[in-house]
């Protein structure tokens, strides 16, 4: 899933303060699951902004709505009924949702309320960790199911580097050394011989290397 984190209140207050009537839009997809921009976070942010502007003595109205998914135009269409009564839109979706609203409502300022972080998995309640870098050429089959690109701080294809200490990364002892994980998995799989096969330099064109990407399924499109 895509993970995100709410921006600081200071930044949000700054970006909405030019406006009097705000449409705050949540998304019931990834950002709900990672507790960044679902209905609950929308209500909480709304409450916090109102409280702040009450303190400032500034007239401020806020309308809350949470869409099923902000990255699909059909759902975004539901905003039509509310858009005119708002001076600006604050979206709590990932960057995809923000852009979709901006694309649909060209005349309306649309601002992000969250920072889109990464594609990750939920390690446990309240903890999400990066798992995939979207490189477009998956090597997980060779690396024991642990991605060296997303999970090694230096994205080494032939790690580990000399900073691996007790299974942890030199950058931060909270980070697992991806190559330690890879090695452990290869051992468990009885595939240690794979390790000494040098992985060639990666062709980054499948990733961001060749500009923005698009998937077209001929049979569906």
């Amino acid at each position: 899933m895509i993970t995100a984190e709410r921006k600081s209140m200071e930044e949000l207050i700054n970006c909405v303060s030019p406006y009097r009537r705000l449409l705050l839009v949540g998304c019931n997809e990834c950002v709900t699951v990672c507790s960044a921009g679902g209905r609950k976070e929308v209500a909480l942010l709304s409450s916090a902004l109102q409280l702040h502007f009450m303190k400032e003595g500034k007239p401020f109205e806020i309308k809350e709505i949470t869409l099923e998914r902000q990255c699909d135009p059909e759902y975004v269409e539901e905003l039509v009924a509310h858009i005119d009564s708002a001076d600006a839109v604050l979206s709590m979706a990932c960057g995809c949702g923000v852009q979709e609203i901006a694309r649909r409502f060209k005349e309306k300022p649309v601002m992000p309320a969250v920072n889109t972080k990464f594609m990750g998995a939920s390690e446990r309640q309240g903890v999400w960790a990066e798992r995939c870098a979207g490189c477009g050429d998956c090597v997980l089959g060779l690396t024991g199911g642990v991605c060296p690109i997303a999970r090694c701080s230096k994205q080494l294809m032939n790690g580990p580097c000399g900073g691996s200490t007790k299974g942890k990364c030199e950058v931060d002892p909270e980070i697992d050394c991806a190559w330690q994980l890879i090695w452990d998995r290869l051992k468990a799989l009885g595939m240690t011989e794979k390790y000494e096969e040098n992985m060639p330099a990666k062709d980054w064109r499948t990733g961001r290397g060749a500009g923005p990407r698009k998937i077209v399924r001929e049979d569906l499109a």
Partner: protein
């Protein structure tokens, strides 16, 4: 059969113990700072490593400093990290270096920007150090760029890489070296050795696999200046293995004698390492202590340096 014209290669091929040291470029544009440091190493080492934005702090470019050192008649060794350059920049750098007669280099991944003075910098890591070795070897031996195009005048680089025998997982350290050997590395400079027992264990693994016959291994040596430095190395530098008894020993002498004790300890280490099978020489990293390198090399009985 020599692969390059590198003096370092010649010394190593002759079976004599090689000695290298390093020179960190200045954090400024003053050429004399480079020259000052390099001058101290004249005649006592076979090649001078020039670090590449070491610890992710901006310094004068390694290539520029190498050129200055080359112009002094010394043998520079170009260090290059994959952190700061993509494959295009790295290859052009190699070509440029060789055009100045610089024929030794060391391929590294580099410290993470997180530790440096530009923690917000993007770490490139287009390729990793193993792939860098592979790339430079291909440039030299096949005369081809990494992308497969022909090179007009291939650089004949003597290719080195680093190894840390003390990092985790230990069982992987020999295998990781084997990967570099497979990639075509010519020599290895190791991380500073304080835990000689563990280093010997690692070397045994190298010897058992016959890797020492395919690559020259220069043992990394860093003299301790003080007990403070010893503690710092133990606790703060990732992948460093400093046994407690060493700290106890240097801490056991008065402050004014600690530097001398540090040098003594490093000399003892060199003596012991001389007897370890597979050790082809020493890489003395006397950080901001270049003026003591000569003394160390001399007291270690490694002078005079051979000439070719």
């Amino acid at each position: 059969m020599m692969k390059t014209d590198s003096t370092l290669e010649k010394i190593l091929a002759s079976g004599q113990l090689a000695v290298t040291s390093e020179c960190g470029p200045p954090r400024g544009a003053l050429p004399e700072k480079v020259k000052e440091k390099a001058e101290m190493l004249r005649g006592c080492v076979d090649a001078v490593n020039v670090t590449d934005n070491q610890t992710a702090m901006v310094r004068m470019s390694s290539l520029a400093a190498c050129i200055l050192i080359k112009q002094m008649g010394l043998n520079p060794l170009l260090q290059m990290v994959t952190r700061d350059r993509n494959r295009l920049a790295m290859q052009s750098e190699v070509l440029g270096a060789y055009s100045h007669g610089i024929d030794n280099m060391l391929c590294l991944s580099g410290d993470h920007p997180h530790f440096g003075d530009h923690p917000g910098a993007a770490a490139v890591h287009d390729i990793d150090s193993v792939q860098a070795v592979e790339m430079v070897k291909k440039m030299r031996d096949e005369g081809l760029f990494q992308g497969g195009q022909k090179i007009d005048g291939p650089p004949k680089m003597f290719i080195g890489a680093a190894a840390n025998p003390f990092a985790d997982p230990f069982e992987l350290r020999v295998a990781r070296l084997a990967k570099k050997v497979k990639a075509g590395v010519d020599f290895i400079q190791t991380q500073c050795i304080y835990n000689v027992d563990k280093f010997e264990k690692w070397m045994q693994g190298i010897v058992d696999r016959g890797l020492h016959e395919k690559v020259y291994i220069l043992a990394g040596i860093t003299p301790m200046k003080s007990v403070g430095m010893a503690k710092y190395m133990k606790n703060k530098v990732p992948g460093m293995d400093v046994p407690d008894e060493l700290i106890k020993r240097i801490g056991g002498v008065p402050k004014e004698n600690q530097a001398e004790e540090g040098i003594k300890m490093c000399l003892e280490t060199i003596e012991r390492l001389k007897t370890v099978k597979g050790v082809a020489g020493f890489h003395i990293m006397a950080i901001e202590w270049e003026h003591r390198v000569r003394e160390i090399v001399e007291r270690a009985g490694l002078l005079p340096r051979p000439t070719f």
